[in-house]
Amino acid sequence: MPVDLMPASADLIRLLPEIVLTLMGTLLMVLAAILRKRSSNAYGNLSIAALLAALGAAVYAYTRQGPAFGNMLVVDGLATFFRALVIVVGILTVLASYRFLRRQGAETGEYHALLLFSIAGQCLMAAANDLIVVFIGLEISSLASYVMVGYLRDDKRANEAALKYFLLGSFATAFFLYGVALVYGITGTINLSGVRAALTAPESCLQAGAGSVLCVQNWLAPWPIFLGVAAALLFVGLGFKVSAAPFQIWAPDVYQGAPSPVTAFLSTGPKAAAFAVFLRIFMSAFEPGGAAWEPLVWFSALASMTIGNFAALRQSNVKRMLAYSSIAHAGYVLVALTARSADGAAAVMFYLGAYAFMNIGAFAVVGHLAGKGERYQDIEDFGGLGQKQPLTAAMLTIFLLSLIGVPLTGGFFGKFYIFKAALESHLVWLTVLGLLNSAVAAYYYLRVLVMMYFREPSQAAIEAEPLRPGLRAALLVSAVATLFLGIFPNWVLDFSNKSAAMMK
């Protein structure tokens, strides 16, 4: 068989964001070795440049939509949305990291290089159309983030968090691989388009790259539930990444222990990418067997919302509280997934977009206030922030109101579309319980608001240094985006609707 090793140029264009990120990541490490310069903003500036270039590449790739590398990748609306989202998350993370790293005396090229690699992995997940690519992307993203969690090596909490995250992450990924094996066993392929074809048509053929034609039969007929088993195994790996119950158990410890900018990144970037994979696998490939996996997602959605919200009520550490809140938010997104409709998929995308901004913003403020060595993480430490730093407090107010879901913020519309999609799919109970859950959630976010405005300044608020330009930019961008999504949700919504409709 003649083998053409040179991929077509269209293929390369469709992979361009990942190529840019990987190259720049490598370059950063080389520069770090040459420059040997510590405490410099150069690395951060460079990685922002890299991310902007990647953003441009992602948009450029969107103009040349289609499959690449023999259907291993596919560039469509969904892929572009999530690529852009994780890249923007990366930019905000870098902006929030400048001052944080300097304060901890830990500015190195490696931090930024790992961040870029992790984002490259997430971009790959967003565009992957083959379970093996999904897996590799997942591993690139995860390995980099394990190290980032434990990046401050003198911090015991961070070390513990990194170890836990690494061990449990590998454990969960093993289940994911087993699921991949089962999918292969059932359908004879791990290409997601192939899986979908195998599950729909009694017999169908598709172009499987490099001229070979793959014919598959609908082998699911003997026992449809089997697909559910495979879905459950895949769900372990992905559910772990998005911290959905019952695989949420690591999140509070890791989120609390990790450096705040890394937590901000962790709770948004990998989560968004994993949900992109969720959409690809569950809404596209496994869509024909929806009845088999729907109960799983239903249960997980409810459990995540309930555990997240109720456990958050008891927390006094803000990072831990936000960790539980992020579990709950994963639950809301799963509600939209349970709807199994194009509307639901669009709601997932919109919600993750809004959620990324508000959550990064909230964690950035937490990291800002925590001070050197992240001493101040308690809710009490937010006392009087409204007096000492009105701007910071106002931003945090916007983020928290959005997390509550108050109108005129992106969080409101996110929730609104999710519950609308759920109701249209006749998930009445899930909708009712979800709304009650979000009512409960208001309480713990409110506690922070009360602290900020209705208390005397705490030691932390007095000691807090003024906002530095980088962090200020990150907060402003997040706040403006949060409000923008609440007042003009149309842009993002149109795009996500269009992408969701095209997904199948």
Binding site: M1, V3, D4, L5, P7, L15, E18, T22, T26, M29, A68, F69, G70, M72, L73, A106, T108, E110, A113, L114, F117, A120, G121, L124, D130, I132, V133, I136, G137, E139, I140, L143, A144, Y146, V147, G150, Y151, R153, Y184, G185, I186, G188, A208, G209, A210, S212, Q217, W219, L220, P222, W223, I225, F226, V229
Partner: protein, 172 residues
């Protein structure tokens, strides 16, 4: 055929017992050697499936490369103290029960859904056309169909290397 079956059970026993000893032995050296045993068993299973290339890779990379490195490290680092330390997690029973139940459930699923599996025919068809042999076929598919995963796996390895260096470096 009988020989195949017998060999299969021998290799399978190697894999399982090796794995069990790996996690139960106190001495790190013993654990590593048990792991080698387990990996050799996997290599044998590959050979039984006529996957010569994987068989060779398994032996050269895992047994020859990685495990020898492990042994070096173990012998360089003094682990005696760790060997004598008391196991602080005593929930063996729960762990074993959980593993047993998951195993039983998986077995039941595979039994119940066995009709859904048709790998043999598909794989057989693939092998049938392979006059050139397994190794060449793998090369073909790696460099054509699976070119992208093959290439990006190098990024994964790069990240792993960078990560371990960052974690191990004296001063960041």
């Amino acid at each position: 055929m009988l020989i195949d079956t017998v060999l299969f059970y021998i290799f399978a026993a190697m894999v399982l017992s090796g794995a069990i000893f790996t996690i139960t032995r106190r001495s790190a050296v013993h654990s590593a050697i048990s792991l080698i045993c387990s990996l050799l068993g996997v290599a044998g299973l590959f050979l039984l499936q006529r996957a010569e290339f994987l068989f060779a890779v398994q032996i050269v990379l895992y047994v020859g490369g990685i495990m020898v490195l492990f042994l070096f490290v173990i012998m360089l680092v003094n682990l005696d103290l760790a060997a004598k330390a008391r196991q602080f997690n005593r929930a063996w029973a729960v762990g074993i029960a959980a593993v047993a139940v998951v195993g039983a459930e998986m077995a039941w699923f595979l039994y119940r859904g066995r009709a859904a599996f048709h790998i043999a025919e598909n794989g057989g068809a693939g092998l049938g056309s392979a006059a050139a042999g397994n190794t060449e076929m793998i090369a073909d598919s790696l460099f054509s169909e699976y070119l992208l995963p093959f290439e990006i796996a190098s990024v994964l390895l790069l990240v792993a290397v960078v990560g371990s260096v960052v974690m191990a470096k004296k001063r960041i």
